[in-house]
Symmetry: C2
Subunit: 336 residues, 2 copies
Amino acid sequence: MTEQILTLDDALSLSERVLEANGFSPDHARAIARTIWQGQRDECQSHGLYRLIVCTHTARSGKVSTDALPDITDAAPGLVRADAKGAYSLLAFERGLPILVEKTRRQGIAALAINHCYHFSALWPEVEAIAAEGLVALAMTPSHAWVAPYGGTKGVFGTNPLAFAWPHADAPPFVFDFATSAAARGEIELHRRAGKAIPEGWAVDADGHPTTDAEAAMKGAMLTFGGHKGSALSAMIELMAGPLIGDFLSLESQAYDAGAGATPYHGELLIAIDPNIFMGGQVAHHTQRAEALFDAILGQGARLPSQRRYEARARSLASGTVSIPKALYDDILALI
Amino acid sequence: MTEQILTLDDALSLSERVLEANGFSPDHARAIARTIWQGQRDECQSHGLYRLIVCTHTARSGKVSTDALPDITDAAPGLVRADAKGAYSLLAFERGLPILVEKTRRQGIAALAINHCYHFSALWPEVEAIAAEGLVALAMTPSHAWVAPYGGTKGVFGTNPLAFAWPHADAPPFVFDFATSAAARGEIELHRRAGKAIPEGWAVDADGHPTTDAEAAMKGAMLTFGGHKGSALSAMIELMAGPLIGDFLSLESQAYDAGAGATPYHGELLIAIDPNIFMGGQVAHHTQRAEALFDAILGQGARLPSQRRYEARARSLASGTVSIPKALYDDILALI
């Protein structure tokens, strides 16, 4: 496949240009473009420049507001609320972040609830942004009700990702960001397109029977990772990033979509903790303990989550470029 | 096996008497006895009256303080710290709880860090106690470094349980409490004693090879549930309930134990969230959404976590009694 090389700067400005050309306000275009650019920089192809096509498609369908400015509310000493008012989540996150950081440094622990947002992005850029402020971060969202609970056969949960970041002073943070479904929905779709069987444990068919047929899986329900434990964790995310912040369940997001197949519409919960406060002022000492944990993992040949992504980032930053298929590049240019 | 029936009241007072007769101060005896009694009431045999034997054994070994009163510190608007000063965790939890509740109601979200405690108990009694105040609760602890990270072969993580509670006004809360190891260490020990093979995926031997030999597993390392995702979650718990609160990693707890085989010594992190604040005052409406989630799970024949435990609780409360093996009862009486 022919590749198109873009400088990092060109990748970012192209993304902004495409989004603005498709009706997004400059603020939204910048927030979305930056996240897409981060995905491409880290070689997460499915969260990279490819997403410009999905975003503009959704914008053209009229579902997503392309210019609503988020309402930021100081809801309590430990809670800031960012109402996205039917736009994508990313500008709401950007506007809520400074207040979350300030609250966390004052309270020790605080939360940012994003409401009424369309959500397509990975959570790691957000927990990384919080960790860049020296804070520990957790993030979670529902999605559409594609995933059956343990022992069940029908979709109730979303793919319900959970992300976590632990800050490092002079290096990228320790970060994980995983779906609580056994596999990403996109993975099953890729198997379906390729006519390949999916592994056991990923899904059940419409009758609730285990299946390795990707087509049947797309019509049935996905399963959670890790049996009843993963299912319990998914329920927690559904409750905390749904009803607890006064927003949709994955079931409600799917009903609201009414078969349109658009980006899920729901809320997001982020929790931040200040190590300066929680470590009782002895940050250097206790941070060193965390490093001992990472050393014990790496020292036996195991990997840390995000390690591959950080290696990709280092490559992109060293070369100053990213690379996408020429066909995708042409599709993106056609959007302007 | 002959069973001994005890009234619920007798089970509680016997537990207190045994603990006091073995040197525990009345305050510690009451806090520990209550937790043990809750385990027996819910028919969690390994967390029931059997634990009196473990507690008194550990007390007699001189490792655990039987009378230190916890130091409670108002560390920040969102953080109360309870230093157990080398005693069991349960009195520290009891003394920290009212301040955690008050802070959560004021801030929206707050945390209780328990430090320098010996820890033997399940986490569900604690998240249930927080939910009884109408709050959402999370709890986590490290333990000893028995569990290898994904892709590794040597113990680094503890069995690192995570517990969660979602309050119900007139019914027991939605609760889960699971180890992030594939199985409980006690399960492997039971297989070893019975000379039975353990399932694949539970452990590796001392050379790092997958094993179904329980004896080899006890000398090797346990594995996390759910592959790299369970491993990432275990790392999060290790960091948050260890260095973040200024306390031991599972590696440090095990080194401190120095082969004595005593109860792990470390910290515990509890986080509480007030739905009144997070739901923006519309508690009835959003609580109803959570009920719709539970109905969607139960309606397809799946179970909720803790459902079996609550059925056991209902049986115990209806009969007013609990039942333990006569041999265990005799062993307990011999401790007085």
